[in-house]
Symmetry: C2
Subunit: 374 residues, 2 copies
């Protein structure tokens, strides 16, 4: 069977583990409009080998967009245009770490980031998380013990737990990073996807420090297939990445998509799409929350992002539940996937971005049936 | 000053060192047509996280295109979609080599590839080249001495020398690669840019062997800003690349550009553009050849590609000449850039793709003036 997208699902399967936007939500018409606009402008710089750190005109538009949404000034020269956060993490590991360096990660954390860190032979040490995010107050003894070079955090609507790092903890984390010279990699992919309440100050506010790199992407707020993201950090860090042989040879990482998305930004299409996508995701979040009430699962309702993180009754194992669930036509991500120490066996992650509310409810109903037959 | 493209030139400067297509030659209208076509189709898979090795539908179209132009059958499952050859080389070094491995490179070779190999701490050993390309007959003792794991060759219209590897030497190289288990990285970016005579069989014909990887790109035949290329090899080698944490997380490397270029291929626009680009480059090659006749330089007229490789009179040093040339408003790449051992000081490379014939002639006239004042 021919495959175009990353996941190929079985007919009728509802896979609540897929952390992708729904294909039908991707704004094909808006992107068509943006592309037509870009092609109609004078010049073809977006089709040429691009400036190493990214097109300055795109960085200007992106800085304006981020400043407006973050609520503080983002300087264009702190932005490095990437192929998304996965590629940005890959680059950071490559140019700003050494094999054997210790990296702290949240337990639980985004499992595929762990795979990238493993590629670079980093020594992955999990640190605990609670309802206010990374337990920063417990960090100092662990820092003294393990001497980490890096710390990877998803500080808002965390994948998978849904929790956000409080303002107070952000400040404390920054102090620790400065004191112990730890490079904080803040994966802020869900920052602009806050549906309830006010988001805390993005870590991107602190890139005057050379200890903070904020990572962002258009994958969750526009379209993953663009492979377009950004890394927001002190300019001296950006220069190191641009010294890569790959960049020196091939130039900037994504001139073409940058050109099209520059038009999305200039025409205000990104703003309007973001507003509509947030409204849709918010309603899906509520729908999943409603449906989950019938199930014997403990959870904190998320305020943004893509995910619910659920605790099973103590006797139940998520991996065993998954095997039974698949037979009922529903899938999810079991807890141990997100653990750097193969724990969390009675947790699971559900995603509400990939299906509409009707299918989400049907998926949860199948999960309910599965749990009742265990 | 705001910078969009990789090179920012001074006003009035003619930089014959830039190995890029001219921006005015990039087919903006055709790409606009292709993008509009892609956006008008049902589905939005090209905007979603993509299949790890690349979109199967794009791989099918690409295989058909390559089969037609190469003159032998290219199987879709031997193609891995990349962000161009620079990224492909980067990936190959990462997943198919170890620091300290010996890599043979042609002397001279593409200087920015050497930078990528150095990033991966490969031990770069130059091997000689003559008018028939890599001197394969002299390779065996060097292989025995250095035990290379990799060999990087630009087997056609070589950058910088312009020479092409003969059919007989290709066969001998394949035998050596099999015997000594050397992975041959064949950078065939200029294969489809043959303006005179018949190109030898592309190395892509031999990917049944697990010792050959052929690298191709749309950068020189369509538009570099797309960051779209391919790696053509035995499927077992492709699988190793797709295991990358970056790919497992972010999916295929370039779904969006793949979708647009798929339309270029489907609509026959790539074929017609390639034909017109070849005609233009051919005329520029001839114009540069004509202009060069007045200068005391030895060279073999290239039959394709982008470059002339010129030998200066013995007493003249290319780096010193360059300093004087810059004052006359013309630049080029001096020979030592292409040497893994800082030799080749009385050679220089000129590119004929970046300017029209009038400007090329003016550039050569400035070089003539410079040489006369030395």
């Amino acid at each position: 069977m021919l495959q175009s997208t990353q996941f190929a699902l079985r007919e009728g399967e509802i896979h609540l583990g897929i952390g992708h936007p729904e294909e039908a939500l991707l704004p094909k018409d808006l992107l068509a409009q943006a592309a037509a606009h870009r092609f109609a402008q004078n010049g073809a710089a977006f089709l040429q080998y691009g400036a190493d750190v990214g097109d300055d005109l795109f960085r200007l538009e992106l800085a304006t967009f981020l400043s407006r949404h973050y609520g503080f000034k983002v300087e264009p020269n702190t932005l490095y245009i990437t192929n998304g956060i996965s590629q940005a993490l890959d680059f950071v590991c490559r140019y700003l770490s050494q094999p054997g360096d210790v990296i702290f990660v949240e337990e639980p954390s985004y499992f595929l980031a762990l795979h990238i860190f493993a590629d670079y032979q980093l020594n992955i040490i999990p640190v605990p998380l609670d309802a206010e995010g990374l337990m920063v107050d417990e960090l100092e003894p662990l820092i003294k013990k393990h001497q980490p070079k890096l710390l990877y955090t998803i500080p808002i609507h965390q994948n998978p737990s849904g929790v956000s790092l409080s303002e107070a903890r952000r400040q404390k984390l920054l102090e620790l990073a400065e004191t112990y010279k730890i490079l904080v990699l803040a994966d802020e992919v869900y920052h602009l996807l806050t549906y309830e309440g006010q988001a805390p100050t993005a870590m991107a506010a602190y890139t005057e420090s050379k200890q903070v790199i904020s990572l962002g992407s258009f994958s969750k707020i526009l379209a993953p297939g663009l492979r377009l993201g950004w890394l927001n950090a002190h300019p001296s860090l950006l220069d190191k990445l641009a010294q890569s042989g790959m960049v020196q040879s091939g130039g900037g990482l994504n001139p073409f998509a940058s050109g099209v998305v520059r038009s999305m930004l200039e025409l205000g299409l990104q703003d309007s799409y973001l507003a509509s996508a947030k409204a849709i995701y918010h309603s899906r979040l509520d729908a999943m929350d409603d449906a989950l009430k019938a199930l014997p699962l403990r959870y904190q309702k998320p305020k943004g992002g893509y995910f619910f993180w659920l605790e099973l009754p103590e006797a139940m194992d998520a991996t065993i539940l998954l095997e039974a669930a698949v037979r009922q036509g529903v899938s999810f991500q079991p807890g141990p996937k997100f653990s750097a120490q193969e724990k969390l066996s009675h947790y699971l992650r559900l995603c509400f971005s990939y299906y509409d509310s009707t299918i989400l409810k049907e998926g949860i109903a199948r999960l309910y049936t599965t749990m009742n037959t265990m």
